[in-house]
């Protein structure tokens, strides 16, 4: 029997992944890269939910169900995001967020 991975390790991985995503959102200038960084953040959330549901929750399915929902929402979010980015590209031939300067940030 293989010993299970301790909760701390899993949460550490998730937090690191979340940090990488956070850094990506704040530092990347390409709109598609920002959307990918947001995906990383949401995946960190999924890891957290699954780990916690295995170790902490009285009902082990709760976290997994939430993860499924989060994946679904994330997919929809990216679809919407890419549609808007595509529209910007059609109007401006450029998806650098620094050039989104018609409105002052």
């Amino acid at each position: 029997m293989i010993e299970a991975i301790p909760l701390d390790h899993v949460v550490l991985v998730a937090t690191t992944l979340f940090g990488i995503g956070l850094y990506g959102v704040l530092s990347r200038r390409n709109a598609v890269a920002i959307l990918m960084a947001i995906e990383l953040m949401l995946n960190a959330v999924n890891i957290n939910f699954i780990a916690f549901s295995m170790y902490v929750s009285p009902d082990p399915t709760v976290g997994q169900i939430i993860a499924v929902f989060v994946i679904t929402v994330a997919a929809a979010e990216v679809a919407l995001g890419l549609a808007i980015v595509l529209q910007i590209f059609r109007n401006k031939s450029n998806i650098n967020v620094d050039d989104l300067d018609l409105l002052r940030w």
Binding site: F18, L35, L42, S57, F69, L80, Q87, L102
Partner: protein
């Protein structure tokens, strides 16, 4: 849960059905008739309001306790339907001039409303989150709905990126709270807090991230940066909808979360929320003073208003909750009035600068009157809703003895009078040039006159004789706090 429970979700069902019908009919409607789809969509909102009446006084747990229909949710569901109704009725003129897919536009407004109605009823994180995303997704599309306008695209992209980012923060916070307490239900979280008062760093970080995520949604400082840009770039009716609907939904989420889930630890967070409240209102007011664009001014003013409501969250109890509900209702009527004036003014002139208001009193008395009533109410002048509701909210908050908070809130309220009066000076006093004096008076469509008058009456009603609204707000707060 049994079959008859669905009767209590009839308002939501009616809205979804109306939205789908509007989308379907849109396919068969010639382009120049599409803006008229507003009327069936608005009728759907009215029918949903009629169905809400049957759940008055009912307290029902549904779907394994994930939804709770009580007077609190009833209050907000009614509010959202009212908002949707006025936004839809106010938009056909604008839609005709600017937007192509009118059916889609009205349907998405209804869908976002359904999401908002879900948030206020849910007492579990996942349900609330999914509802929140239903609201947000509708808004992402609506904000960027003027597809060929670069400004609208840009606003949509900014809103989506920051909205998705804030959802990420919110979800990570929820996952940590889930990790600490083993549950996502508010009641179970409160129960866990009773037995274990301190979960350590995981818990603190979780709550902080949830607050940050919701802070984005209600545009609280320092998470407000998206609001002015998105408000300016979005189609005007959507700006109106965002500034009242999405804000009220965020606050409803916060209030129910703190009242039912995090109440045992609220004392740890009071000062932090209070500081955010003060920063939010001060920042909103100071920046609003410098604005030349009416839409942007209203955006910053709505940031400041969020600060006032946060005072109620920081001092949360039964009285401040009814104060917040009342203030949100008054703010909704007032801000809708102000935005409808901007929408109609924009329809007639294509402009939205504060300078462009010169001579407004000569060109349309009704527009000027409603603008004056709305702005004076936002400024918190007596006789108007803003004074009554703020007075009620701040008096209730004073019981918490956070005097610095109340003092700064009142000071801010006085400060804000200045920039609202600047706008009114343009409309009333600043003389027109000779050339401008030749401009003809405005001719408003009759439905515009009706909606404007209705909102003005509502603002004055809440301001002068608010007992009906106070009773409703108190019933809503009793649903959360008992007694």
């Amino acid at each position: 849960m049994n079959g008859s429970d669905f009767a209590f979700l009839l308002p939501e069902i009616v809205l979804v059905a109306t939205a789908i019908t509007v989308w379907a009919v849109d396919f068969f409607t010639p382009r120049d008739r599409k803006p008229d789809l507003a009327w069936p969509a608005a009728a759907g909102a009215l029918v949903a309001m009629a169905f809400l009446a049957i759940s008055w006084g009912e307290h029902r747990e549904m779907f394994l306790g994930t939804l709770r229909l009580d007077n609190f949710s009833l209050f907000f569901r009614f509010l959202f339907l009212t908002v949707a109704f006025f936004v839809i009725v106010g938009s056909p003129g604008y839609v005709r001039r600017k937007l192509r897919n009118a059916g889609e536009f009205y349907g998405l407004i209804l869908m976002s409303t359904v999401g908002a109605m879900g948030i206020v009823s849910s007492r579990e994180f996942l349900t609330a989150y999914i509802s929140l995303e239903l609201v947000a997704f509708g808004f992402y599309v609506l904000v960027s709905h003027a597809r060929h306008e670069a400004r609208s695209n840009e606003a949509g992209a900014k809103y989506l990126i920051l909205g998705a980012f804030s959802s990420g923060l919110l979800l990570f916070g929820i996952s940590l709270i889930f990790g600490a307490t083993g549950s996502t239900g508010y009641a179970a979280i409160a129960a866990a807090l009773e037995t274990t008062p301190d979960f350590g760093m995981v818990w603190t970080l979780g709550v902080a991230l949830v607050l940050a995520g919701l802070g984005f949604k209600v545009a609280a400082f320092p998470f407000h940066s998206w609001a002015p840009d998105v408000y300016e770039g979005a189609p005007l009716p959507i700006t109106a909808f965002l500034s009242v609907g999405s804000k009220a939904a965020g606050f409803a989420f916060l209030i129910r979360l703190f009242a039912e889930g995090l109440f045992p630890v609220l004392d740890d967070w009071r000062v932090a929320i209070g500081v955010v409240a003060v920063l939010t209102m001060t920042f909103g007011n100071l920046v609003a003073i410098q604005q030349a664009n009416l839409k942007r001014l209203l955006a910053y003013s709505s940031i400041a208003q969020a600060g006032y409501i946060l005072v109620g969250v920081a001092t949360l109890n039964a009285d401040t909750t009814s104060g917040m509900l009342l203030h949100i209702a008054g703010y909704t009527a007032t801000n809708l009035g102000a935005f409808l004036v901007v929408i109609y003014f924009h329809n007639l002139t294509g402009k939205e600068g504060i300078d462009d208001l010169r001579g407004l009193y000569r060109r349309s008395f009704l527009l000027t009157l409603v603008l004056a009533v709305s702005l004076l109410s936002l400024a918190g002048m007596p006789l108007f809703a803003g004074f009554m509701t703020k007075f009620y909210l701040f008096t209730a908050a004073a019981a918490s003895q956070l005097w610095w908070l109340i003092a700064l809130a009142v000071a801010n309220s006085i400060l804000s009078v200045y920039y609202y009066l600047l706008v009114l000076r343009q409309a009333f006093i600043t003389p027109e040039s000779e050339e401008e004096e030749q401009r003809p008076a405005f001719r408003l469509p009759s439905h515009a006159r009706a909606t404007l008058s209705l909102l003005m009456v509502l603002v004055l009603w809440i301001g002068i004789y608010p007992s009906v609204f106070v009773d409703a707000a108190e019933a809503g707060s009793r649903a959360l706090f008992g007694g």
